[in-house]
Subunit: 211 residues, 2 copies
DNA sequence: CATTGGAATTTGACAGTGTCAAGATTGGCT
DNA sequence: AGCCAATCTTGACACTGTCAAATTCCAATG
């Protein structure tokens, strides 16, 4: 009759998830499952309860590893920023191409990645995390470093005469990123419905930015 | 004891909202109250139940005038698009200024409006409405017309040599709007945290677009 | 080997949310 | 006066995030 006896009986037979009380690395499992959920249905579709179901654990188990839902999402976003930063490095370190070509392929990569990982992009650059200053300190640092790298690249491009040297590097980086982000958002959010001319849009943006 | 008797008693004294069963124009009251709520706490803060409380009506009263919450929000967004469209007309019809000046003040106006009405801007141009194709047909038409106007203006500016005439008008309109939208979003969503150099950003964007 | 302490996990509870179906109320028309 | 259709309310359901308290378990200590 006691709860204890019930549990022993349950264990002896079959536990639904096939796992017992303790897990291998629940934290990582939670992160992985969350990433899947984001990919499937976007940030909006992430529910701690469904996440728990998926991992085979109880509703509030995640609270032992993450302060709250926001903390979990920030962890995922940070992961994304690291990947993002590495990809940027790879693209711009490729010295085989001329700078203009590298920049063009950067824009194409940006838009392709943003659209193929729309929900993930939304998490990283969307209001869910940044609005109301809910971003983790750790996340703030990671993302700030990434942006600073981009500002530095912009400065170098100005020195090489690729960008207008009379503009402030910071402003130029802000506006050029703004352009890409704006296009990405309009496409991702479904405001621009025609996604069959993305390359043309990219080229048009490239022409404007490089003039 | 009967519910009916309770009601009569209640009416004879004071009804909390001061209104009885039927309202003057509940639909409009709901719209107005929703607008207030958006301004105060953003789209996220709009709850049908709190809205009902505010208007002094029961939880589900709004369902008689709007199919669901999305329908209500679309109505609000459409209202915004009409205002937006009128403002654009006003700015660009002002022939007293040179075209370049008009365009600069357009950008400034855009960013100022977006930031001062951040939550409303988010409603109009955010995923809440456009993602998953939940936008009302009526809203789609209104917003499409607005954008077409902008494309037409872009075409004229190309003819006047203000914009590069070799670019496709549609792409140019998409990218130039994308730039403004991107900056606005990054500021509104809290990704760009420094809002003390907005004018400089605007000018930098203007220089890039008009070159 | 038994006990116990602390980490890991679950259960219960609460205050929210949107929305549907069914009932209650009312003003206007015949 | 009576009824109808428009309008509004009540009840219910399935969700959500999060806190506090209870439970379970592993590991180290005596």
């Amino acid at each position: 009759m006691s709860r204890l006896a019930d549990k022993i009986l349950l264990m002896t037979n079959f536990n639904t998830a096939g796992k017992s009380y303790h897990h291998d690395d629940l934290r990582q499992k939670l992160i992985d499952a969350t990433r899947d959920m984001i990919r499937e249905g976007g940030v909006e579709a992430v529910s701690l309860r469904k996440l728990a179901d998926r991992v085979g654990v109880s509703r509030t188990a995640a609270y032992h590893y993450f302060k709250d839902k926001n903390d979990l999402l920030c962890t995922l976003a940070e992961e994304g920023f690291r990947y993002w930063s590495e990809e940027l490095d790879r693209i711009f370190q490729d010295e085989s191409k001329a700078l203009a070509d590298r920049y063009r392929s950067y824009i194409r990569w940006y838009m392709t990645y943003a659209l193929e990982n729309a929900e993930y992009y939304d998490l990283m650059f969307g209001r869910a995390i940044w609005k109301q200053n809910t971003a983790t300190d750790s996340l703030k640092i990671t993302s700030y470093n990434m942006f600073q790298k981009q500002v530095e690249r912009t400065r170098q491009w100005q020195e090489q005469g690729f960008f207008n040297p009379s503009e402030d590097s910071l402003r130029l980086a802000q506006v050029s990123w703004g352009t890409l982000h704006g296009l990405a958002r309009l496409l991702i959010d479904g405001v621009y419905t025609d996604d069959s001319h993305i390359d043309e849009m990219c080229d048009c943006a490239a022409n404007l930015l490089m003039s």
